[in-house]
């Protein structure tokens, strides 16, 4: 898998970046949904 002796090749790192950003974005969306949910709750 990853070559740990030294820095892995650029393509691998770029793929990892995309996956990580996607996952972080998902989390952001979830938190955003929670904020919106809380906002609605305040209106009740």
């Amino acid at each position: 898998m990853w070559n740990e002796a030294g820095i892995p090749p650029a393509e691998m790192r770029m793929i990892a970046t995309v996956i990580i950003v996607f996952c972080l974005g998902l989390g952001g969306l979830l938190i955003y949904a929670k904020i919106m949910g809380n906002g609605k709750k305040q209106k009740e």
């Binding site: 998902l26 929670k34 609605k40």
Partner: protein, 166 residues
């Protein structure tokens, strides 16, 4: 709180029932928690790989070059201590001109034992374990004897490997 609707007669789809809101919120909490765990897993993996050193190759059965045979001390002298690569071995020539080699690492908790000239045995200063000239336990908390080493003399050079002398 109802919002104004263009058809005041109809209830209109405003807020869902409280039960559905709460279960939706629970779902959201669960998804957030799950997401957190999923993100944490690779981070912990990387941390483990970074922090925990790789297993060292098994050097147990390596042959050790302990130097020249004629430089070894005789039976009346204290044994010479060979130290290298995590090993500490006491070596000498016995009365029959054979090589005797024994590990100096105490089998209790790993201190380097001392050779006692008066009693001709090995004593560990850390917790008082004592071993005879062949490494057998005499007293003290150590349960196992000192590891013996087998010697081969090739062209005047002494080579040691773990194990009893044949």
């Amino acid at each position: 709180m109802k919002e104004a609707s263009s058809m005041p007669d109809q209830p209109g789809p405003e807020l869902p029932s409280p039960a559905r809101i709460s279960s939706r919120r629970h779902l959201l909490q669960a998804m957030l928690a799950g997401w957190g765990v999923i993100l944490l897993a690779p981070a912990l993996y990387i941390l483990e790989r970074y922090l925990v050193p790789a297993e060292e190759p098994d050097r147990q059965n390596e042959r050790i070059d302990a130097g020249r045979f004629d430089l070894l001390p005789g039976p009346s002298e204290p044994p010479k201590l060979y130290r290298s690569k995590g090993k500490a071995i006491y070596i000498c020539r016995n009365g029959q001109n054979q090589v005797q080699a024994i590990s100096g690492i105490c089998t209790h908790l790993g201190c380097l034992v001392e050779y006692n000239r008066e009693h001709k045995n090995f004593r560990c200063n850390c917790h008082g374990s004592e071993f005879d000239q062949n490494g057998n336990n005499l007293s003290g908390p150590a349960l196992r004897p000192l590891q013996p080493y087998r010697a081969e003399v090739i062209h005047d050079e002494v080579f040691l490997s773990p194990g009893a002398q044949l």
